[in-house]
């Protein structure tokens, strides 16, 4: 199968079930929404080293937020359900509580599985905190030097999917990067997904484990490293000199499938030789996104 002359390899992306929370953060202005979102989702590229994966889902107009101010929707994902409250409490406590003018709301209010967040962050209030129940949802008012920080008591948690991906195999680093930029731009507006790596793009795709160290759980994906083509069992076609990966997490498999389709189509441009995907033989992750099936699915 080829798209715009780019080979779509007969392979699949292998993804995992993760636990997801959606945070809606509002602030007085878009400036402070952005400042908070960047800190909140910082250092959250991969559970391998960051304990969680997070990203901006989309920015929200005042008419879309609970308090009528500019806002942002952020997705947080972890592997184990017990990890989510820890990650949320430490990140909300350090990046949203601290950010001027912000308030923090649950973006999954219908989820029956609940995680205590405001109900833990409240202890910063040292006994001066107070709660209000509005529309059946409890909010904590935590006094801070600026005024008050408002944070919803509990957040919904649902099962999502993490690790959807595709690899852009290109003739040059410039061609790979331009293709990925086009893909990310096309995928970015889609709801229900995040791309947790810098600018949505990963240059250091990994394989499970390490040749040299038993303690490392991941190391460089040498089969796709152009500099190692001559000394490893390479998977790179002739003419490929650079590979970049786009990783996409989502609230469900259809969201990821739709995003991969749009991203791959955008990435199939001059200078790109092939599109591949990362997997572990299909034995680790329950979600398999076959590239050709993804592209053949109705838009």
């Amino acid at each position: 199968m080829k798209v715009n002359g780019v080979l779509i390899e007969q392979t699949f992306a292998e993804a995992f079930t993760m636990r997801v929370a959606r945070l809606v953060v509002t602030a007085r202005s878009e400036r402070w929404v952005r400042e908070c979102a960047l800190k909140l989702t910082g250092f959250a590229t991969s559970v391998i080293g960051c304990k969680c994966e997070a990203g901006i889902e989309r920015f929200l107009a005042p008419s879309e937020t609970p308090d009528g101010r500019p806002g942002v929707s952020v997705l947080f994902m972890v592997m184990a359900r017990d990890d989510l409250p820890k990650r949320l409490v430490e990140r909300v406590g350090q990046t949203v509580l601290t950010c001027p003018t912000t308030a923090c709301f649950d973006g999954l209010p219908d989820a029956t599985d609940r995680v205590t967040v405001g109900g833990a962050v409240k202890f910063f209030g040292d006994g001066f905190q107070a709660s209000k129940v509005i529309g059946g949802r409890r909010y904590w008012r935590i006094p801070v030097m600026e005024g008050e920080f408002l944070c919803e008591a509990t957040f919904g948690m649902v099962k999502g999917v993490g690790g959807g991906n595709f690899l852009v195999l290109a003739e040059s680093p410039d061609a790979a990067l331009e293709a990925c930029e086009a893909a990310v731009d096309a995928m970015d507006p889609l709801p229900g997904i995040i791309m947790p790596f810098p600018g949505g793009v990963v240059r250091s795709g990994s394989k499970v484990g390490s040749r040299r160290s038993k303690t490392m759980i991941a190391s460089t994906n040498d089969a796709f490293c152009p500099t190692l083509r001559a000394i490893t069992p390479t998977q790179l076609p002739e003419g490929v000199n650079s590979v970049l990966e786009i990783v996409v997490n989502g609230v469900d498999a259809p969201s990821i499938s739709a995003a991969m389709r749009i991203g791959i189509l955008a990435a199939c441009r001059p200078g790109v030789v092939a599109i591949s995907a990362g997997n572990y033989g299909g034995k680790l992750g329950p979600h398999h996104f076959h590239l050709r099936q993804v592209l053949e699915a109705p838009a």
């Binding site: 009528g68 101010r69 209000k132 509005i134 008012r141 005024g147 008050e148 408002l150």
Partner: protein, 238 residues
């Protein structure tokens, strides 16, 4: 939101205590069952609610009262969940503790699209009482917690002996001497609350109020001092 609609059959000729109307369990009652609940007239004694109101609709979480209920006391007393809308004014102790009860509302929302008499929300424990008109004297008397929003003026002694309650006043209010000024600010919880009152209940909130600044008064310092009166700072005074 579905529920029963109660329309006053005729103007009230005497004070009536409607506490029994919203005693727990009302959401599951159909028109006949709610009409059989016994309320009390000051002179007449026991009266079936169905004799005072025509009742129609299906059981649900919303109870709507229509008519001038200025002579009706204890409207919404004992409310623990659901929503009560009153399309008119109410008498004394709306949302307050019913006779013999220790606590007033313990949940839900009571929205009065008119004036409220004395001691509205007295001894409230939880929930929200919103009054589109004026509130009589001693609104929020001895509140344990919960929120009272008054769009009009608040009578004297509002918030007296409140422990942790919030009294939110768009209009004039005399701050009791046992409250102390804290600051002028924009509490986000109020934007959330007012947005909810607008969207869920059709409660009118002027833009200047929604976006405005508020004076926070802490009290009652004769109690724990964890309560508050929030007064809107009018633009000309800002």
């Amino acid at each position: 939101m579905s529920g029963l609609l109660l329309a006053l059959r005729a103007p009230l000729a005497e004070r009536v205590d409607l506490a029994a109307l919203t005693a727990p369990g009302w959401q599951a009652l159909d028109a006949a069952a709610l009409g059989a609940r016994v309320v009390r007239g000051l002179r007449s004694g026991a009266i079936a609610a169905g004799d005072l109101f025509t009742i129609r609709g299906a059981p649900g979480p919303l109870l709507t009262l229509e008519g001038d209920l200025a002579l009706a006391d204890h409207v919404g007393a004992g409310l623990d969940a659901g929503t009560v809308h009153v399309r008119g004014s109410v008498g004394a102790r709306a949302g307050a503790a019913a006779p013999g009860a220790k606590r007033g509302m313990t949940g839900g929302a009571l929205v009065v699209f008119g004036d409220a008499g004395p001691e509205a929300g007295a001894s409230m424990r939880r929930g929200c009482l919103a009054i589109a008109g004026r509130a009589g004297p001693a609104a929020g008397l001895a509140m344990l917690a919960g929120t009272i929003v008054v769009a009009g003026a608040v009578g004297e002694d509002g918030g007296r002996f409140s422990k942790r309650g919030s009294l939110v006043a768009f209009g004039d209010v005399t701050i009791p001497g046992t409250y102390r000024h804290a600051c002028t600010y924009q509490p986000q919880v109020l934007r959330l609350l007012l947005a909810h009152l607008r969207s869920a209940h059709g409660f009118a909130v002027p833009g200047a109020v929604f976006d405005g600044r508020w004076e926070r008064w802490s009290g009652d310092l004769a109690e724990s001092g964890k309560g508050e009166i929030l007064t809107h700072v009018r633009p000309e005074a800002a």
